[in-house]
């Protein structure tokens, strides 16, 4: 039998991952080019075409309470959500990883300060911190991006500190140091490549969390502000018409859900591939 022979080569990719990758690609394409699917602008209102259901002539996904085309708003919302998700996750990954590596490299007082900061962040849910800062300062897109970017920085910092501490005591690092390599060279060429996977795995866990934080804050009306829009903001505009105009909440909601679902499925899969010790059980 063909199947009884041991398989050689990479393991088969499960269909759930294939579907997820397809959805993510479609989402990115939609975010990039979806605007061109509709002849309308995303801020273009029309008093005569208010609250048209999906499938109405000229409006594939219907219109909202101001007669704006839902399709083009979804596309622009997807764009903003995508930008905030990727930029935000990157900000958190870079800040957190740097702090973690610096803590492990410098030890002493620097490490104490960073570990204390990690403890404080761990005792305050990021949404509460974000709301606190938003109460103090004017909401701007940059500030919002930075706040979303803080999601999970403390996890990166903790993981990278641990990874750096364990790697930097290994024999090969001592050997390279004895050969006279500068600290910059040791960290960039010899330590970073060995701990990069840790950050990459955390990145895939964090990405859906960032999407959910952005949409939640925007849903509360405290995130992306009009005239800009995001998937969460479209939902919050539609929630008062849940029964009469379900398409205003359900379409963006479904996109958020499937995006978070596909990203976390792919993340789990990547984590299993990168870290064989996890593959067996959890």
């Amino acid at each position: 039998m063909e199947s009884s022979r041991p398989r050689i080569g990479p393991p088969a990719i499960p269909w759930s991952i294939r579907l997820s990758v397809c959805f993510i690609c479609l989402f990115v394409l939609f975010a990039l080019f979806g605007e061109f699917l509709s002849p309308y602008g995303f801020r273009e209102t029309s008093m005569f075409d208010r609250l048209l259901p999906p499938g109405s002539p000229g409006y594939v996904l219907g219109t909202d309470a101001r007669g704006r085309d839902v399709l083009v708003r979804l596309a622009v919302g997807a764009q903003i959500t995508l930008i905030v998700a990727i930029a935000g996750t990157l900000i958190g990954a870079v800040i957190g990883s740097l702090l973690g590596i610096v803590a492990a490299a410098r030890r002493g007082a620097v490490e104490h300060v960073i570990v204390a900061a990690i403890d404080v962040q761990a005792s305050l849910p990021i949404i509460v911190v974000a709301l606190f800062v938003l109460a103090m300062f004017d909401n701007s897109f940059t500030l919002f991006l930075l706040l979303v970017g803080l999601t999970g920085w403390e996890v990166y910092a903790r993981l990278m500190r641990g990874a750096t501490l364990s790697v930097k005591e290994r024999g090969y690092v001592t050997a390279v140091r004895a050969l006279g390599a500068s600290p910059a060279r040791i960290y960039l060429r010899h330590i970073l490549p060995n701990i990069f996977n840790v950050a990459l795995v955390q990145f895939t866990i964090n990405l859906p969390l960032t999407v959910l934080l952005e949409t939640a804050l925007s849903f509360l009306g405290l995130g992306v502000q009009p005239p800009l829009t995001s998937l969460g903001q479209i939902m919050s505009e539609g929630r008062d018409r849940l029964l009469t105009a379900w398409w205003l909440t359900l379409f963006p909601g479904a996109v958020i859900f499937f995006l978070a679902l596909s990203v976390s499925l792919c993340g789990d899969w990547i984590r299993d591939r990168l870290d064989p010790t996890l593959r067996s059980e959890t």
């Binding site: 404080v120 005792s123 305050l124 990021i126 509460v128 911190v129 103090m136 009306g221 939902m235 909440t249």
Partner: protein, 302 residues
């Protein structure tokens, strides 16, 4: 053991102090704190009195010291809207948030842990795959979307509006508990799998201990230890989730107060809620650490 307890206590106190200090720094850099904390419509003299009392014209470290002293005396400022103390507003809404949160935690525990354990016992079967699919679903489902679906379902199927002040706690608690349910199931599964395959389980099997007895008296108590940590960790997610869930269901709790206060820049109220959340989280984590001493003898001997 005393050293362990002292270290944990010290760490909790330090964390709390840093959180308070950061709140202080943010409020100082965000405009006029005297106007923010004084009663609304206060004439300029009163604001000046507040500035005087808060020592805004003194050096920063003295301001900091008097801020800490003020907090210790229970002076948390007044809400801009109602003119009432922030503490009073908070306490008024605390019971409904506690009701929602505890119901959500109970639902999550009651559904998540059996599901995860069942999946671990029937590893690799359809049940296992269902449980894991459910936990991924629960993680990816934004609670505002799930909440809206619950409300929509209630309206279409039962002709009832699930939101509002005098509604049942169940729909909102189910929405809030969903994410925690998924993570409890996942965690219970991996924790139980780990113990089922541990050497002491094989030893019990070799001694002829019956299957159910092995599961109930050998595997379950050991698998339950890490769950204590998980409950502590899930508290943050529950607090974060309640902010959104209360908003969706119009639940009159602290989360709703927080969102409303942020939208209207009610600094005193926001400050108090942030401090309260930090205190709760630090205390619960401390409690979890101390509880570990009781249930896991290995730490006691360290």
């Amino acid at each position: 053991m005393t050293a362990y307890i002292l270290a944990k206590l010290f760490r909790a106190a330090a964390t709390l102090l840093i959180a308070v200090s950061m709140v202080f720094v943010f409020i100082r850099f965000s405009g006029d704190p005297a106007a923010a904390l004084a009663p609304p419509d206060a004439p300029q003299e009163v604001i000046d009195q507040y500035a005087e009392a808060m020592g805004l014209n003194k050096p920063l470290w003295q301001q900091y010291a008097s801020y800490l002293a003020g907090l210790a005396r229970g002076e948390f400022g007044y809400s801009i809207h109602t003119g009432r103390p922030a503490l009073e507003l908070f306490l008024e809404r605390l019971p409904s948030t506690l009701r929602l949160g505890s119901a959500a935690l109970l639902i999550a525990l009651a559904a998540g842990i059996p599901l995860g354990s069942f999946a671990a016992i029937n590893r690799g079967t359809r049940i296992d795959r269902f449980a894991m699919a459910f936990s991924v679903f629960a993680f990816a489902m934004p609670n505002f979307l799930f909440g809206l679906c619950v409300i929509l379902g209630g309206a279409l199927i039962f002709q009832v509006y699930f939101g509002g002040t005098d509604a049942s706690v169940l729909p909102a608690a189910l929405t809030l508990g969903l994410a925690a349910m998924g993570s409890f199931a996942r965690f219970a599964r991996s924790s139980l799998l780990e113990t089922i395959n541990a050497p002491f389980m094989r030893a019990a099997e070799a001694r002829g201990v019956p299957y159910m007895r092995r599961l109930a008296f050998h595997a379950a108590p050991n698998a339950a230890i890490p769950l204590v940590t998980l409950i502590g960790l899930s508290l943050g997610a529950l607090i974060a989730g309640s902010v959104v869930t209360e908003q969706v269901f119009g639940w009159p709790g602290v989360g709703q107060l927080l969102v409303r206060s942020v939208a209207t820049r009610d600094i005193a109220t926001v400050q108090f809620i942030v401090l309260a959340v930090a205190c709760t989280m630090v205390l619960v984590n401390l409690l979890v650490d101390l509880l570990y001493l009781v249930i896991d003898p290995r730490i006691r001997s360290r």
